[in-house]
C-alpha cells in the first residue's frame, strides 16, 4: 500500500481559500509557497466566508444525503412518512374545522386548503427542529474536523427539502379528487418555496448556534414551533383573525409565504402586502442568523 506523492491540489483548500501550491516537486522547486490559511484569535465578524462554504458544497451534499439515508433506513414506512405527516394533519384539521366550527375557505375545499398549507408547514417545522439539534448531534464532527460549521445545520434543512417534494406530489391526486384545477400562476410557487427554505435555514442556524450553548432550546423549540402553526394561516384563513391583530399576523413571514403559495397553486390574486412583509422579514432573519452564527461558531468546538 502506498500513498501517492502529494499531487497538485484542487482549487479547494481545507482551511480557507488560497492559492494553489505546486506540489509534485514543491520542495525542490523555487516557486514560493503560498499562504493558504492564517489562524488568529479574532476574525472580522463581517466576513461571512460564503466562498469557503461553496468549496465545501460536496460535504453539504453528503451530510444531507446521510441524513436522508439514515432516516429512511431506520423507519419501516420510509419516504411514506413525508406524505403521512401532512396527510394525517389534514384529516384531523378537516374533521375539526369543517364539522365542528364550520370554517369557510372560499372556493377552495378545506382539505386542499389545509394540505397545501401543511406541506410547507411540515417542511418548515421539520427543518428547524432538525437543524436546531444538528450541531449538538454532530458534536464529534465539531471537535475533530474543520469545515465551515454552517454546513451542518444547512445540510439538515437540505435533507428536508426532499421530503417536501415527496409530500407535494400528493397535491396532484388531491386536486383531481376535489376537482380543483391548478392555476397558471403555479409557476410562481417555487418563489414561495425558496422563501420558506431561506426562512427555515435562517431560523435553523440561529437555533442551532443557540442550542450549542443553551440546551434549553431542545425542549422549548418543539412547543414554540407548535404554537407558531396556529398563527401562520396553515390551517385557518387570515380572515378568521380580528382586524386589530392582523398586522401581527402579517409580521410572521410564514403567513405571507403560505398564503401566497396557496394562491399561486389554485388561483386568485396575490397578497402583495403580506408577500413584501414576508420577504423583508425572511431576509432580515436570514442575514441576522448568518452574522450571529459566524460570530459564535469559533467557540463551538470548545463548549459543545
Amino acid at each position: 500500500m502506498s500513498i501517492p506523492k502529494a499531487r497538485r491540489p484542487a482549487n479547494q483548500s481545507q482551511l480557507e481559500l488560497g492559492g494553489s501550491v505546486r506540489s509534485d516537486d514543491f520542495i525542490s522547486s523555487n516557486v514560493p509557497l503560498q499562504l493558504t490559511a492564517v489562524i488568529e484569535s479574532e476574525r472580522s465578524w463581517l466576513k461571512l466566508g460564503l466562498k469557503e462554504v461553496w468549496n465545501y458544497r460536496e460535504l453539504l451534499y453528503f451530510l444531507a444525503w446521510r441524513d436522508i439515508r439514515v432516516r429512511y433506513k431506520q423507519t419501516a414506512l420510509g419516504a411514506l412518512w413525508a406524505i403521512l405527516q401532512p396527510l394525517l394533519g389534514m384529516l384531523v384539521f378537516t374533521l375539526l374545522f369543517t364539522s365542528l366550527s364550520g370554517v369557510t375557505t372560499g372556493n377552495l375545499p378545506y382539505p386542499l386548503f389545509a394540505y397545501s398549507g401543511l406541506v410547507l408547514w411540515v417542511f418548515f417545522a421539520n427543518s428547524v427542529t432538525y437543524s436546531a439539534n444538528s450541531l449538538v448531534g454532530n458534536a464529534n464532527l465539531l471537535t475533530k474536523v474543520y469545515f465551515p460549521r454552517i454546513i451542518i445545520p444547512t445540510a439538515a434543512v437540505a435533507a428536508c427539502v426532499l421530503d417536501f417534494f415527496i409530500s407535494c406530489s400528493l397535491l396532484v391526486p388531491l386536486s383531481l379528487w376535489y376537482g380543483v384545477k391548478f392555476s397558471a400562476s403555479v409557476l410562481l410557487a417555487p418563489i414561495f418555496v425558496m422563501l420558506t427554505i431561506l426562512l427555515a435555514t435562517g431560523v435553523g442556524l440561529f437555533m442551532a448556534a443557540l442550542c450549542v450553548k443553551y440546551r434549553d432550546v431542545r425542549y422549548a423549540l418543539p412547543f414554540a414551533v407548535q404554537l407558531l402553526m396556529f398563527v401562520s394561516s396553515v390551517i385557518t384563513p387570515p380572515s378568521l383573525i380580528p382586524e386589530k391583530f392582523r398586522w401581527l399576523f402579517m409580521l410572521n413571514p410564514l403567513t405571507g409565504t403560505i398564503e401566497n403559495f396557496r394562491t399561486a397553486l389554485f388561483g386568485g390574486s396575490l397578497n402583495w402586502t403580506s408577500l413584501m412583509a414576508a420577504t423583508v422579514v425572511t431576509l432580515l432573519v436570514c442575514s441576522g442568523a448568518l452574522i450571529y452564527f459566524r460570530r459564535v461558531e469559533q467557540s463551538f468546538a470548545d463548549i459543545v
Partner: protein, 436 residues
C-alpha cells in the same frame, strides 16, 4: 527556504468552569447575570482560567516530519486542534502554506447504519476529499482495509477491527501537503499498527510535511527527524527526535525526592523514600559505568506496627523506550530479611553491571507475600557511562543491544562439531533457521 508552517506565540486559555461543565442552561446564565452581575468577571480574573497552550512558537520546513511528545494535558492536542482550525487561539497567530489535512481521530462521522461503501464516501467528504478523489481511490481503500466482501454491509455489523481498518484506509488516501496526525495509531491490533506506521512512513518519505503526536516513543524515534517536547502548555525542548525523546524521559527525574511523588501504588505500610547507587566501597554515584560493581539501595520507611518477614524487594531496569532489560528480587536469590527495622535500606549488589552506556529507568516494588506495599515506575534514572565490561577496552553501543553478556568464543573443526552434536544435517539446519 521559507517555512511551510509558522507558529507565533500561540496561546489558548480555557475557563476551568467551561472545562468541567461544557454547556449552560439559559436559566443559569440568566440568574447569574441577575443575581451577581459581576461575579463571572471576578472569578475569571482569579484562578479559574487554565492555559492549555502558552507562548508556543516554532517553524516547520517543507518536508519535515515533526513528532510532538509530552504527557497528558501538556497541550499537544490543543496545538493540533488550533492548527487544524477546529478551535481558535486566544492569543497568537499561525500561518500555513499548503493544503492541510488533519486526522485527530479515525472514523470521524462514520454512521453505523450506513454501509462500508457509503461511509467511505461520507468520511472522505468530511476529511476534505472530493468525490472524484474518493472514487479514484475506492478500490485501493477497500483493498487496504481488507474488507472487500463486506463493503456493502452496514458498518454496525462490522467487528471493531474491520471498522478501524476501513476508517484508517480512507485517511491513508488523503493527499495533503501538510498532514496533522494525533494519537490515532493506538487503535487496532499489532499487525494493523504496523500497517499504519508503514503509511505514515510513506507519507514522510514522499515529501509531505507531517506533525505527529504520539505516546509511542519508538514510533516517534523511527518516523520523525525532529521532536518537540511539550510540558504544561509550553515547548520545553525542540531538536532532533532522539534528543527530544531523551529529554522527555529525563523529565521524570526532575522530582528528586520520592516522598513527594504521588504516582505510586500499594498499601503504603512500607514505602521507599529514596533510591541511590553506590560503588563497592559505599560511595554514592551520579552515574555507573558498564561492568562496575554497584549497589542499588532502596531506602525505606515502614508504618508503625508494620511487621512482616516475607517482604520481597524488587527492581526492574528498563530502557528509555520502556522495554524491560532485567528484573531482580530477593526471592530469586533466596534471601530473607527476618524482622525489618522501621527504617533502613534494602540493597541489591550487582557484581558486574551488564548495561551498555545509556540512561535507564528503574522501577521498584515492595511486596508482602502477594500484596503490594509500594511500587513506582520511573523512580530513578540510572545513568550508565562507557566502561570496560569485557576487559578488552571495547564497548558495544546501546543501539546494538540493551544488555552486555559475558561469553566465550571458541573454534571447533567440522568433524568435532558433528560428533558433539551427534546429529544429522537436519538439526543443523533447524538451528540455523531458529537463529534467523
Amino acid at each position: 527556504m521559507p517555512p511551510i508552517i509558522r507558529v507565533d506565540n500561540l496561546s489558548k486559555r480555557y475557563r476551568i468552569g467551561a472545562l468541567q461543565r461544557s454547556y449552560f442552561s439559559a436559566r443559569e446564565s440568566l440568574m447569574n447575570s441577575l443575581v451577581a452581575p459581576f461575579q463571572r468577571r471576578r472569578s475569571e480574573a482569579e484562578s479559574s482560567v487554565v492555559w492549555a497552550l502558552r507562548d508556543v512558537s516554532f517553524a516547520v520546513q517543507p518536508g519535515e516530519v515533526v513528532g510532538i511528545i509530552g504527557s497528558n494535558g501538556a497541550g499537544k492536542s490543543t496545538l493540533l486542534k488550533i492548527l487544524s482550525g477546529i478551535t481558535k487561539p486566544t492569543v497568537g497567530r499561525a500561518e500555513l502554506y499548503g493544503r492541510v489535512s488533519s486526522l485527530l481521530e479515525v472514523g470521524t462521522g462514520f454512521h453505523p447504519e450506513l454501509t462500508g461503501r457509503e461511509n467511505v464516501f461520507l468520511n472522505g467528504a468530511i476529511l476534505g476529499m472530493r468525490r472524484e478523489e474518493v472514487k479514484r481511490h475506492f478500490d485501493s481503500i477497500v483493498a487496504f482495509a481488507e474488507i472487500a466482501p463486506f463493503i456493502d454491509t452496514a458498518v454496525k455489523h462490522y467487528s471493531s477491527g474491520m471498522y478501524v481498518r476501513l476508517a484508517f484506509a480512507v485517511a491513508a488516501h488523503l493527499e495533503p501537503e501538510i498532514l496533522i496526525v494525533d494519537e490515532v495509531l493506538s487503535v487496532g491490533d499489532a499487525q494493523f499498527q504496523r500497517k499504519c506506521l508503514g503509511v505514515m512512513d510513506q507519507a514522510a518519505h514522499t515529501g509531505r510535511t507531517v506533525l505527529f503526536v504520539s505516546h509511542n516513543l519508538s514510533a516517534v524515534n523511527h518516523l520523525c527527524r525532529r521532536g518537540i517536547v511539550m510540558v504544561a502548555g509550553r515547548i520545553k525542548f525542540d531538536g532532533t527526535q532522539t534528543e527530544a525523546v531523551a529529554n522527555y524521559l529525563t523529565g521524570y527525574n526532575e522530582i528528586v525526592s520520592l516522598r513527594d511523588r504521588t504516582d505510586r501504588a500499594g498499601s503504603g505500610e512500607m514505602r521507599v523514600v529514596a533510591v541511590s547507587i553506590n560503588d563497592a566501597q559505599g560511595r554514592a554515584l551520579d552515574e555507573a559505568v558498564s561492568g562496575q560493581e554497584i549497589d542499588i539501595c532502596l531506602d525505606y520507611e515502614s508504618a508503625q506496627g508494620f511487621q512482616s518477614s516475607r517482604v520481597i524487594a524488587g527492581i526492574c531496569i528498563k530502557t528509555q523506550l520502556d522495554a524491560p532489560v532485567f528484573l531482580q528480587h530477593n526471592r530469586l536469590t533466596r534471601v530473607e530479611w527476618g524482622a525489618l527495622p522501621a527504617r533502613g535500606s534494602l540493597i541489591c549488589r550487582i557484581p558486574k553491571l551488564p548495561l551498555p552506556p545509556s540512561n535507564y529507568r528503574l522501577t521498584f516494588s515492595l511486596m508482602d507475600g502477594s500484596n503490594y506495599l509500594d511500587t513506582m515506575d520511573n523512580a530513578f534514572e540510572l545513568k550508565v557511562a562507557e566502561g570496560d565490561f569485557f576487559g578488552t577496552g571495547e564497548v558495544p553501543p546501546a543501539t546494538h543491544g540493551c544488555c552486555l553478556v559475558e561469553a566465550e568464543w571458541r573454534l571447533e573443526a567440522e568433524g568435532n562439531h558433528r560428533q558433539q552434536l551427534g546429529e544429522s544435517d537436519d538439526v543443523d539446519q533447524s538451528v540455523t533457521r531458529s537463529l534467523a
